[in-house]
Symmetry: C2
Subunit: 312 residues, 2 copies
C-alpha cells in the first residue's frame, strides 16, 4: 500500500475539486505552486507555539549548513495568524496551537498540502511540552502509545453524528530510532512511555488550580497514580488525534515532548523562564540529531554539533 | 448569589495558594498588580485570531474616544505567544485560538485574573467567525443556545476520568439587547439562532474537502438539514465550553459570530480576502455599538459613529 511512499488522502471527493483552498494555512492549489514550494519535504515537525517552531526552523537551517541567514526565514503562512510555517531545506516546521481541534485542522490541511505537492517518504514529528508523571522536570518522553483520559489507546472522532473509534498507534521503529539518538546526547534524560492526551488543561488533567475544581488533592493523586500505573509518563493535549490522523494517512509519526514539571509534585509551572526555555530546546536537539543522521550528515558535522550543545 | 457582581471562581483550593501563575497568559499574582492593571474591566471580548482581537481593541480605543494613539496598544501577554491581550479603557480584548481546549485554557486563566483583580459586573462576548446554515454569507448570528454535534444544549467535561454534563445556556436578556442593537445597524443582516459547536472543522462539520472523508454529499446534506431543522443557524468550535464555563462562574456571556459561507452551498471558504475582512468587522461593529450604549456614550457619538461606518 505504501510502496510508492506518497501521502494518502482518504477522500474520494478531492479528485473532483477544481481548486483546493487550504484556508487556515493561507495556501491553495491555484494560488501557489505547491510541488515547487514543498516537493522536497521529507521531515515535518509540528509544535504548539509559533515562536518555538520558528526557533526550530532556524536551528535546522544552521545545523544542515544551508546557505543564507536562518534569521531571515519567512513565515510561509504570513497571510494568516492561525498557524505559522517555516521551511529549512527538507524540513518543514509548523505551529499547531493548543488542543485536539486546533492540531486537527492543521493536519487536514498539511496532509492535503503534502498530497498536492507529491511529497514522498515523509516522517512527521510533534515536538512539544507536557506535564510529566513521576519523572524529573526536563525529561524528554518519546511516546510509544497515545492514550485518552481513560488510559485507552483510542481516539473518538465524531463524523456527522456518529462516533468512530480510531487507533492511536505510533511507528515502533521510529520510537526505537529516536531512543537510540537520545543515547548519544548526554545533556538530558530521555525515555519511552505512554502519553495521555486530554481535552482540557485544568479539570481534565486533575489540576487543583483552575477557575473550577470540584475534587480533592487525594482524588487527584489517586487518578494520576492510576495513570502512572497504566504506563503514562506525560500528559499533553494533541497526541491522540495526531497519531490517529497520521496513521490513517500513511505518515510515519512520532511524539517527543519535554516534561515541564512533575505533576505528582504540583500543578503550577513555576520554573524560571530560562530553565523552561532550555527544557523546550531538548526535543529540538534530539530531532535535529535524528534528522542529520537520517540525511547522513551526522559524522561530518559531529564537531560542529557538539559545539552547538556546549554553546547554547 | 451574584448580588456583589464579583466573578465566581468555584475552586476551594485557590485561597490557600501563596501565588497564582497564569502560565499561558504570562501573568501572575506576585509578578503583576492585577487589581491596578485590570480592576476597571467591564467588558471582555474574545475571538480566535490575535490580529482580529488587536483590531477590535484599536476600534474600541477610537470609538470610546480614549487618549493617545490606538495603534500603539501593547500586547499585555507579549511574553508568550499562546494568546494575545489588549486593553482599551474598560474593554479587554483577548485571542483564544481555535477549538474547545484552546479557549478553555484561556477562560480558566482569564476568570482567575478577573477574580484576583476584583472586577465587578463583567460582561463577556465571543466575537467570532463561523459557517452559516441556510443563511446568507455575512449574516451575523447572535447565539441563543449553544449545542453539540448531536444538537443537544450540553457540554461534556471530563473531570479526572468522569464525564460531567454542563449546561450551555446563555444570558437571554443579553441576546435581546444585542438583537436590538443590531436593528440600529442597517449595513448587514443579524438574527438569533442556535450555534452548533464541534471538535473538528472537517469530518465533524460534514465537510467533503478534508484529508479524510468517508461520507457522501447526500449524507452530509441530510445531517446539515437535520441541524437546520433543530434550529442551528451556524457552526463553530468554541461556544459550548464558553457558555458552560462562563455560566458556572457567573459571567453574563454572549456569542456573536459572522457566517463566512452557507454550508448548504459548499465547504470551502473562497470569498475574496477583502470580503472576508469586511464580514469579520461586522460582529465588532455590533459589539462596539452595544458597549457604547451600555456606557451611555452612544448619543453623543452618533455622528462620529456613522462616519466610522461610512469610511471603513
Amino acid at each position: 500500500l505504501l510502496s510508492n511512499g506518497l501521502v494518502h488522502v482518504k477522500n474520494p471527493h478531492l479528485d473532483s475539486m477544481d481548486e483546493d483552498v487550504l484556508y487556515h494555512l493561507n495556501l491553495g492549489t491555484k494560488t501557489h505552486n505547491l510541488p515547487v514550494m514543498f516537493g522536497d519535504v521529507k521531515f515535518v515537525c509540528v509544535g504548539g507555539s509559533p515562536n518555538r517552531m520558528k526557533t526550530f526552523a532556524q536551528l535546522m537551517h544552521k545545523e544542515l549548513g544551508l546557505e543564507g541567514d536562518g534569521k531571515d526565514l519567512k513565515d510561509i503562512c504570513a497571510g494568516t495568524d492561525r498557524y505559522s510555517m517555516y521551511k529549512a531545506g527538507p524540513v518543514l516546521s509548523i505551529s499547531h496551537g493548543m488542543g485536539i481541534p486546533s492540531i486537527s485542522i492543521m493536519l487536514h490541511e498539511l496532509i492535503k498540502l503534502l498530497h498536492h505537492a507529491k511529497c514522498r517518504d515523509v516522517t512527521i514529528i510533534r515536538i512539544g511540552t507536557s506535564g510529566g508523571l513521576g519523572i524529573d522536570p526536563g525529561t524528554v518522553v518519546i511516546t510509544d502509545i497515545a492514550v485518552d483520559s481513560f488510559f485507552k489507546a483510542r481516539f473518538e472522532q465524531v463524523i456527522l453524528d456518529n462516533i468512530v473509534v480510531r487507533s492511536t498507534e505510533l511507528d515502533k521503529d521510529l520510537v526505537e530510532e529516536l531512543l537510540n539518538c537520545s543515547k548519544e546526547i548526554h545533556d538530558f534524560p530521555a525515555l519511552i512511555g505512554h502519553t495521555m492526551c486530554t481535552y482540557d488543561f485544568y479539570e481534565g488533567q486533575g489540576r487543583l488550580d483552575g477557575a473550577l475544581c470540584s475534587f480533592s488533592n487525594e482524588k487527584k493523586l489517586e487518578y494520576l497514580k492510576r495513570a502512572y500505573d497504566a504506563g503514562v509518563r506525560n500528559i499533553e493535549m494533541e497526541s491522540t488525534v495526531f497519531a490517529a490522523i497520521c496513521g490513517l494517512c500513511g505518515l510515519k509519526a512520532a511524539v517527543v515532548c519535554v516534561a515541564l514539571l512533575n505533576r505528582l509534585e504540583g500543578d503550577q509551572i513555576k520554573a524560571p523562564h530560562e530553565v523552561l526555555v532550555e527544557y523546550q530546546r531538548r526535543p529540538q536537539h534530539l530531532i535535529s540529531l535524528f534528522i542529520k543522521k537520517r540525511l547522513g550528515l551526522y559524522n561530518q558535522m559531529e564537531l560542529l554539533d557538539n559545539a552547538f550543545f556546549l554553546n547554547n
